[in-house]
Symmetry: C2
Subunit: 205 residues, 2 copies
DNA sequence: CTATGCTATGACCACATTGGTCAATTTAAT
DNA sequence: ATTAAATTGACCAATGTGGTCATAGCATAG
């Protein structure tokens, strides 16, 4: 894959966008080349077929996700609030370069059993010694100090609530920002998120 | 519209399902008639065209939503937790008869400006004296006693967190249940939801 | 200057699907 | 028996599909 990274990212983003928006069968290679600003032939020259393009994207996206989170996460962090904030920030950072990356990942889950199977990708990483599901569980638990919670009986529920709050925050705010078609103001976003997290910290610790 | 309600609901459910899954242009009338178990001609006999079918569905779905919530909601309720729980239950009840009703409503929002404009529907209700956006705001505020909150400074954030928790709870649990293809066990669901709500109540009141 | 090899194009293909029609048939009511 | 409504599915032109390929541009090397 020797094509210039800039053009490669243009193609990848266009493809991610299309597959995020439409189910595999409805996603159109014509749209992908149009939005990428390249010719039909070029796409098939580099990727062979629609199926191969999708498989390339699956792997690409998981790798990006894995690397970004894994490299920037501070594993010494014992405060669950800070840990979850770090994860949310990693997600945000990624969607600067690949705006619909997460929508695409979610759509991959929906394709399970369909023509483009997500489990296949999970298995590929399994063979490389990476258990994706275990890894994601580790994000929320490794080195975390749960003794800080006031109420020791409902820790599971509390962690869910914190996670959900951060996720919903990202969804609603990014939705608003996409509509206004501005670029995301990071510092403002962090400040707003901190407000919510402080409320939860005061309530739970 | 004189056709038997049973057949009508079969058609409506099939159409909701298709439009919830695919964007307006990709949604197929062929699929709709196939899944509804009727002929192509019948659909167009009753609904005229794809566009008119979509418009009928838009109005139908908003009306159902409005009626269900409006009729079952206890406006005397001053506890925000109980109010939000009632709303969540109304949603759940509706999705017994029309499983993908909410996915369809969400997809309507995404079609804004597209070939099937949601704002048009909002305006129709506006002319009938029903302001949908105001109404939804009223759900979360009418007659609610906010003095019960411990921290009086961040009430807005707290209400968001409560709302998000209930919403995410519904999303994640219903996802699990859909995969297991069981029918929803209401009493179990309520019990689980109460657990989360109690945690929040203890933390915020 | 030619030759080689990579990047890139877009017209073109056979085929599938689209929203919609309509003449014909079944069903129900009088 | 007659009429009217409900229902069918073969059919249509139009559009879109994933994929191909002969051709062209362009750079580097001899």
């Amino acid at each position: 894959m020797k094509l210039e990274p800039e053009k490669r990212d243009r193609i990848i983003n266009s493809a991610i966008n299309e597959f995020a928006k439409y189910p595999y069968n409805s996603a159109s290679t014509n749209n992908i080349v149009k939005n990428a600003g390249i010719s039909k032939g070029l796409l098939f020259h580099y990727f062979g077929s629609k199926r191969e393009l999708y498989e390339y994207l699956s792997k690409f996206v998981i790798k990006k996700l894995f690397n970004e989170v894994n490299e920037t996460l501070n594993w010494e962090q014992s405060d669950i609030f800070e840990r979850l904030k770090e994860i949310a920030m990693a997600k945000l950072r990624l969607s600067q370069t690949y705006p619909l990356l997460f929508e695409f990942v979610i759509s991959m889950f929906k394709e399970q059993g369909g023509p483009a199977d997500f489990n296949a990708v999970v298995e590929i990483y399994q063979k490389q010694g990476i258990n994706i599901k275990e890894l994601f569980a580790k994000f929320y638990s490794y080195n975390i100090d749960y003794s800080l919670f006031k109420d020791q009986k409902n820790i599971g529920a509390m962690v869910d609530i914190i996670r959900w709050t951060i996720e919903k925050f990202g969804e609603e705010k990014s939705l608003v920002l996409i509509k206004e078609e501005e670029s995301i103001d990071f510092t403002k976003m962090i400040a707003m998120m901190d407000e919510y997290i402080d409320v939860l910290r005061k309530a739970f610790y």
